[in-house]
Symmetry: C2
Subunit: 138 residues, 2 copies
């Protein structure tokens, strides 16, 4: 009887260990994804493409505002690699390249919507907190 | 009659202009707040404090993992300035300093929760997108 229990325990413990290893792997991946998407330029690019639809690099830069060409290139490339943005090259001379959100990119936009609402709702509290903080720092 | 309409139009146009100016001001502020909170280290600090409660600088660094002391100092200071984190100094020798989320910080954690869920739900799609992207890049 005790042998049966011990075999059962061993299997249960192995299973628990495997589950923990999976949890750790999942957590590492999720943190890595968060690290990639929780980024100012990714968020502003996402918002611009969400609001204005498919567009060219230059127009996108104009809408985002104060982004450098280098940073926009880097951001779009990362978003393309993660499957958030698709890039269409039109075979004209000179070639026209347009960017738009994929369904995955749109779903991230929807998920991030809560943070925009939060920023809107709490802007006065944040403004006040900043004023208090600089008063304390003086 | 036309004078009345014109006066009405003028007031309406002035009001519309004021509303537009307010919208622009609000948008600038919200974008600035998003730029500040949509940041990898802010998000990971927020998550650590949310999950483990009030703690000391060193412990917080251990939980976040790969953050430098300089970046953790900067992140905590910004979060404190924005009213997301409170800092308690205990009058002991040497002084003990502990950090915890304010109610505002917890509300941001709740708003950001959708993005964590998104990352968990779409991790396979993202993994696949990355594999496809590097295959195309080769």
């Amino acid at each position: 009887m005790s042998v049966v229990i011990s075999a059962f325990d061993e299997a249960a413990s192995r299973e628990a260990k495997e589950r923990r290893a999976e949890d750790v792997e999942l957590e590492v991946l999720v943190r890595e994804i968060i690290g990639r998407v929780a980024d100012k330029w990714t968020m502003l690019t996402l918002e611009a493409l969400e609001e204005h639809g498919r567009m060219r690099f230059t127009r996108l830069g104009e809408i985002i505002g104060d982004i450098s060409q280098k940073m926009l290139t880097k951001t779009l490339r990362q978003m393309e690699a993660d499957g958030l943005v698709s890039r269409t090259v039109f075979p004209v001379v000179p070639p026209r390249v347009e960017y738009e959100l994929t369904p995955l990119g749109r779903s991230l936009g929807a998920a991030f919507c809560g943070v925009w609402i939060w920023a809107e709702q709490h802007r006065e509290t944040i403004r006040q907190a900043r004023a208090d903080f600089s008063a304390r720092a003086d």
